[in-house]
């Protein structure tokens, strides 16, 4: 595992606006990292700096060992980028567009054209881009980002406008690349679909990194309660089950099911109590805090947790 992307104390000002205020992180080979944060949090700015399209006001960005803004393009040949709201020249067909980008990267045109089938553009590839729907443009955008098996893949809001079936294909392609050692950094608003896939999550808020880690690490840091849902045979007509400590928050879902918010440390203790009591627990469901809740939590406490 070596770092492919290195971001150190990066600050970026646009005139008076501070888009990024001192962010550091390293991305390694084969990592699939989700960059989340609402609009204006600095996600796109960070990606543009990794591409060398803009220079950081302070701090350093290194991609594949080089400074992307220094005018050396060796690193850019191994980089794939899918911008948010990707646009293409309307007069050309999908195949012509893909061939054009393959030539710019000096990769075999035929290999690049084969990618059009991978993303499922199929026959539409022979049509002009101005006849494309948003989803088809997104597919073409992904196809061009995959040209030449990039070692670093930067995807800005890649799944907006994609239908569920294509999302599936999309993540399959990305995960295969990551398994082969590509660093994938993707920003998204669709947190639920990232939850199962991203190995690591970086949360940005107003130009600051507020959280960084695997989903489990973030859960530990956030100390958000796990919801325990119990189906109990003999639930009293009202009020909590007898074994529940007075301080615990709970909700009665219906006559049989009760939901308890358990802090991480109390989780096991509560389960002991529930089963030791002798009251027949018929079913049990554990719902750990999801990415949506974690995101909301870290934005509320917009201080770096370290």
């Amino acid at each position: 595992m070596s770092a492919t992307v290195h971001v150190a104390d990066v600050v970026k000002h646009y005139g008076q606006v501070e888009a990024v205020k001192g962010v550091s992180f390293d991305l390694a080979d084969g990592e699939m990292v989700a960059l989340i944060g609402h609009n204006g949090a600095g996600k796109t700015t960070l990606m543009k700096m990794m591409l060398g399209l803009i220079r950081p006001t302070r701090g350093a960005v290194a991609v594949l060992g080089g400074n992307p803004a220094a005018g050396e393009f060796s690193a850019r040949r191994q980089l794939g980028y899918l911008p948010e709201n990707v646009a293409f020249d309307a007069a050309l067909t999908g195949r012509e567009t893909q061939a054009f980008y393959a030539r710019l990267k000096r990769e075999p045109v035929n290999d690049a054209l084969a990618l059009l089938d991978v993303v499922g553009l199929g026959e539409a590839a022979r049509r002009r881009v101005n006849t494309y729907s948003k989803g088809m443009r997104q597919r073409l955008g992904l196809a061009q980002a995959l040209i030449g098996r990039p070692r670093v893949l930067l995807l800005d809001e890649p799944t907006t406008g994609l239908d569920p079936e294509l999302r599936q294909t999309f993540y399959e392609v990305i995960q295969r690349l990551a398994a082969e050692g590509t660093t994938v950094l993707l920003s998204s608003h669709a947190l639920t679909e990232l939850e199962e896939r991203a190995g690591r999550v970086i949360i940005m808020n107003r130009g600051l990194k507020v959280a960084d880690g695997t989903l489990d690490e973030l859960r530990r840091l956030a100390r958000l309660p796990t919801r325990i849902r119990l189906k109990v045979a003999e639930l009293p007509p009202s009020g909590p089950p007898a074994w529940l400590p007075a301080a615990a928050t709970y909700r009665r879902i219906n006559g049989h099911i009760v939901e308890i918010d358990a802090a991480p440390d109390d989780k096991i203790d509560l389960l002991h109590r529930a089963t030791a009591d002798g009251s027949a627990v018929q079913d049990l469901e554990l719902i750990p805090p999801n990415l949506d809740e974690l995101y909301a939590h870290f934005l509320r406490h917009a201080e770096p947790p370290q």
Partner: protein, 276 residues
């Protein structure tokens, strides 16, 4: 180098698709042909050679039309791609900004050269079919006219790029380009004429006048074509000016080349400093 050619080839392909090539060629050929037929009517068959008349009328047409076509193609080149969002993706590829600009320039110039050669070539062919005979000097003058027309096109493509690299949105670029066209093609000459009339030859010497003419690429082009060849200058009514002008063909060509290189360099500089 490969990147440069790739970009140029894509610009040409796009211009063909968008029917820019067709429109420009038809426009130039149509006007050139009508000027050829109308222009040969008054001269009849006596004395004046039809080709010289055509050169005079075509170069007058060029001064208005070629800059307009060139600016129309060029004003959108950078700011348009930025607004559409295609520039962002393009610049994430392993290609330098100057290569993007120069590639576009080569592509646009090729389109313009193709349209000019074909359009004006049609006029020459029409004359040939009409039974006119060409001599070597006439042909050389005609070829020089086509060549310098393409050079004039290059000047205005470069100026269009400079505008496109500096302004914030496409509307401003279009407005500025039309303003520049009016200023350089129409207003400059009128103002110069007014100045000469007012001055009555007291302060403005031949040298100053030459400098003033070189400061406008359209005038440099006009002088190059209307005074460069003896026969042509006779018909253009510019023989007097040609005799008094101290400007050599070489100086005029150099002026046109500089008028291409300086805006192009400016456009490259402005573009490379722009943040996306």
């Amino acid at each position: 180098m490969t990147g440069l050619i790739t970009i140029a080839a894509k610009e040409i392909q796009q211009a063909i698709r968008n029917r820019w090539v067709l429109a420009a060629t038809l426009l130039l050929a149509g006007l050139a042909l009508s000027l050829t037929f109308l222009g040969s009517a008054p001269t009849g068959t006596v004395g004046a050679r039809a080709l010289d008349v055509v050169i005079v009328s075509l170069s007058s047409l060029t001064i208005f039309l070629i800059p307009l076509i060139a600016l129309l193609i060029a004003h959108d080149a950078i700011v348009g791609d930025m607004e559409r969002g295609t520039m962002l993706l393009l610049l994430s590829y392993p290609i330098a900004r100057w290569q993007v600009l120069l590639g576009k320039f080569l592509g646009h110039l090729a389109v313009l050269a193709f349209a000019t050669c074909l359009g004006y070539g049609a006029a020459a062919v029409a004359l040939l079919i009409g039974g006119s005979s060409f001599d070597a000097e006439g042909l050389a003058a005609f070829a020089a006219m086509i060549g310098s027309s393409v050079l004039l096109g290059a000047v205005f493509v470069a100026i269009g790029y400079l505008v496109s690299a500096v302004v914030r949105d496409r509307g401003t670029a279009a407005g500025l380009c039309i303003g520049l066209w009016l200023a350089l093609v129409l207003i400059y000459d009128m103002a110069l004429l007014g100045l000469l009339v007012l001055d009555q030859g007291r302060n403005i010497s031949g040298g100053v006048l030459s400098a003033l003419l070189l400061l406008n690429p359209a005038d440099a082009y006009r002088l190059l074509n209307l005074t460069g060849f003896a026969n042509v200058s006779l018909f253009s009514g510019m023989a007097g000016l040609a005799a008094s002008s101290t400007l050599s063909v070489r100086a005029l060509l150099a002026a046109l080349v500089l008028w291409t290189l300086i805006p192009l360099a400016g456009a490259t500089l402005a573009f490379s400093r722009r943040e996306l």
